[in-house]
């Protein structure tokens, strides 16, 4: 009996490691379900489920800027809202989801990089974010130069964390599994600032529980082009790009940003935004 228990513990440990690598890999009922009912074409879209203001699961309904852009683009592609199936796409899993065709496209704070272009295609960008800092409202930190000797929090394995390690070695970096933990710790006073892309920070600051406590510094020190991830060789890129251009043109883009960051006292970098989608490969 006892042996079984330890064996179970060991199995659980292995499972935890496996799951952390492939978390969300199984997209429930995504195959085979759509086509028959409803008649219209269904679209499986990968989004974040845990980033308020961008892609956030509110118990079955989804909100955020990524979600709004995804819905607009889907509508332009002729897919109505009820035929969209949102699938969770955690950062480490995005390439796999696309390569295995478990999703048709991904809107999940997905920065366009050359390494990623080797395995996936990108449409867009639909937003240009930049790494920034979130600090308590009464903080006097105005940029990364003020962080020397301060405690900074970011997410384990993120581009933002790596950039700080490389460029600001004097900063004490704490890495947590999610931004929510970082913000909670900052609320406790042990963390002086949280860093990642400005729009993610704005989404966190705009959450009801955090209203008025934190501010986005507004001094970006990187450029992240958020693109739409597509399976390699997809033919949808051109249509998505024209949908994005249309969304920017008719004001819905601006409206989506404003409504999703309301209360955060946030303005996007107007020099780089709104972006012009890159021509498709």
């Amino acid at each position: 009996m006892r042996k079984t228990r330890y064996a179970a513990a060991a199995v659980a440990a292995v499972a935890a490691l496996t799951l952390s690598a492939c978390g969300g890999g199984d997209s429930p009922e995504s195959e085979g379900g759509g086509g028959g009912e409803g008649g219209g074409e269904t679209l499986r879209i990968g989004i974040k489920f845990d980033q308020p203001g961008l892609g956030y699961d509110e118990g079955g309904s989804y909100s955020g800027f990524d979600v709004d852009v995804a819905k607009y683009v889907a509508a332009e592609l002729g897919v109505s809202e009820e035929n969209i199936e949102f699938v969770e796409a955690p950062s480490a899993n995005r390439e796999n989801l696309l390569a295995n065709e478990q999703v048709d496209m991904i809107f999940a704070t997905y920065s366009i990089t050359d390494t990623r272009k080797e395995t996936v295609d990108f449409a867009g960008p639909y937003f240009v974010a930049g790494q920034d800092l979130l600090v308590p409202t009464d903080s006097d930190i105005t940029g990364p130069e003020d962080l020397e000797g301060k405690n900074l929090c970011s997410v384990t394995g993120s581009t933002s964390a790596q950039k700080i390690k490389d460029q600001y070695p004097g900063v004490q970096l704490v890495e947590q599994p999610g931004y929510a933990e970082c913000v909670t710790a900052m609320g406790g006073g042990q963390i002086d600032a949280v860093t990642t892309d400005d729009i993610i920070l704005a989404g966190l600051a705009a959450q009801e529980a955090n209203a008025g406590k934190f501010k986005v510094v507004g001094n970006t020190f990187s450029e992240e082009n958020y693109g739409v991830g597509l399976p390699k060789g997809s033919d949808r890129c051109g249509d998505i790009n024209s949908a994005i251009t249309k969304m920017i043109g008719d004001g819905s883009w601006e409206e989506a940003i404003t409504s999703n960051t309301e209360g955060a006292d946030y303005t996007y970098n107007a020099e780089l935004n709104p972006p012009t989608p890159e021509p498709c490969a």
Partner: protein, 225 residues
């Protein structure tokens, strides 16, 4: 293949595994000490100590490790502002060791108790008959035989502990192996599967010798009856 090998120039995989080994080493020692004391409590003739031992085991064995380590970061570090070292990351490292220790102590306690069950009742009665009270009897007669009977289950706990040390990521120890794996996947998404297999293999290499060693030792050291 060249792409894959270049990973090892950019990322120090061995250093990451070394962090897991350090975490496991210190946590194993602390867990063994706490677990032995708990096992003594559970086999002691004093009801309040028995109750405490049973309560500890049931609470910590049934709490997910991630929650214990997240509590270490959010509760102990952030809210109660407890610091175990002057340096921030050293402090978080030690808090993670505390979390791993208190969790695995519950399993160590049960492993030792299973070892105690292999000691025939006559041994305890004989110890009592020559005038030894509980502690000397436990120290001289019961525990030495119990440890020899508990080597295999203790080895299993150690194996679980080594793999569970990756959960320290939840306690902000971001230099350990699973965190490095996340970083590598973030930057080298073109090599997801080789990266994943590398880390899986790393743990297999760490764990297999322990399994072989404990199986051998449990045979070699078992009390012949």
């Amino acid at each position: 293949m060249e792409d894959y090998l270049s990973l090892f120039e950019t990322y120090d995989v061995l250093a990451a595994f070394w962090v897991n080994i350090q975490l496991s080493f210190w946590a194993a020692i602390c867990a063994l000490i706490i677990g032995t004391v708990l096992a003594l409590f559970r086999i002691s003739p004093i009801p309040s100590l028995q109750w405490f031992g049973a309560a500890y085991v049931n609470i910590f064995r049934n709490t997910p490790l991630t929650i214990i380590l997240a509590f270490g970061f959010l509760g102990l570090f952030s809210v109660m502002q407890i610091s175990l070292a002057a340096d921030l990351n050293a402090s978080l490292f030690r808090i993670a060791i505390v979390g791993l220790s208190v969790y695995h102590a519950a399993f160590v306690c049960e492993a030792i108790r299973s070892g105690v069950n292999t000691v025939p009742l006559g041994q305890a009665e004989a110890a009592r008959a020559i005038g030894l009270s509980f502690l000397p009897a436990a120290r001289l007669i019961i525990l030495p035989q119990a440890f020899r009977g508990a080597i295999a289950p203790l080895g299993n706990v150690l194996i679980a502990l080594i793999k569970n040390s990756t959960v320290a990521a939840a306690g902000s120890v971001a230099t350990e192996a699973s965190s490095l794996m996340k970083t590598m996947i973030e930057f080298r998404s073109d090599l997801v599967i080789p990266i994943f297999l590398t880390f899986a293999l790393g743990f297999v290499i760490l764990v297999i010798p322990i399994g072989l060693l404990t199986t051998w030792a449990s045979r070699k050291l078992a009390v012949a009856r």
